[in-house]
Symmetry: C2
Subunit: 167 residues, 2 copies
């Protein structure tokens, strides 16, 4: 037996995004309970030249929608990156989950050797499917989800590993 490119990607991305919503919902509830302007948390960052919470969510979702789309030979949908509130960030995540759910294993499986190129900021990057999954998508996706967790945790939101991993 072996595992498939779909099995190793789409269900894990949906799971990670579902848990990211749990983390953001706890952030929103924390802001409300403490009378903190939620924008303060959405704009917070761990260091002045690091990206703020909202951008971490943008990039996590961009990673998630980009992989199955490119593997299936589609252009990933473009989102405008205008979210500034917890509700808007959660809506973006839900939109991404709905998009991921449109993919079937047959759209992606067997594309381990398929080569795709895309722009990453100013840089053009090229990967085959397996390298895209293991060297870029998964480490990068989990990085940005973890940074969102870290920013909220650092602000005192009561998060535990289970909120991130799911049960």
């Amino acid at each position: 037996m072996t595992i498939s490119l779909y099995q190793a990607s789409v269900p894990a991305l949906i799971r990670g995004l579902t848990q990211l919503n749990v983390v953001l919902e706890k952030g929103a509830a924390f802001a409300e309970s403490k009378n903190i302007d939620p924008q303060v948390l959405c704009n917070d960052r761990l260091f002045p030249d690091m990206l703020p919470l909202a951008r971490q969510i943008n990039i996590a979702t961009d990673n998630a929608k980009g992989f199955p789309a490119r593997m299936a030979g589609q252009q990933p949908p473009r989102y405008e990156d205008t979210e500034t509130t917890f509700a808007e960030l959660i809506a973006r995540i839900n939109k991404t989950i709905v998009f991921l759910e449109t993919f079937k294993p047959g759209d992606i499986d067997g594309k381990e050797d398929k080569v795709v190129s895309f722009k990453l900021g100013p840089t053009e990057v090229t990967f085959n499917g397996l390298d895209y999954l293991t060297k870029f998508l998964l480490p990068n996706f989990y990085f940005h989800v973890s940074m969102a967790y870290a920013i909220l945790r650092h602000n005192g939101v009561e998060l535990g590993k289970r909120d991130y991993l799911g049960s």
Copy 2:
């Protein structure tokens, strides 16, 4: 074509740990350049009840050594969790990489349905190989590597995404 459990795990773990060493080396150099006691960084955390940097490294390496060992039917080697310096943490990571390099694809591949149980703190958890990889190992490993990055980044260590991802 499909991908194998080995391809999706061991090379990614070795890569992640190699980059974690890059991150820690930058932390050690930063402490030296600023005349900061390196222990301050190794003991730092993002919130008072969160785990400090040294423990993030312990858990990342525990995740990395546990998966291939259990899939191959071995007990993972036990490390004593006594590291307190950058040099000791880097040595632990290097020891883990050497251990990972002992596995061959044939030790792990085809074990997607193999069920393993192990203790996670006080809790016994049970996974088949595919769920262990996608629902626990990878999200958890990247979480702890990312937290190590976040703690050092928050302290002003000049880290970029490339230090984490590799080139």
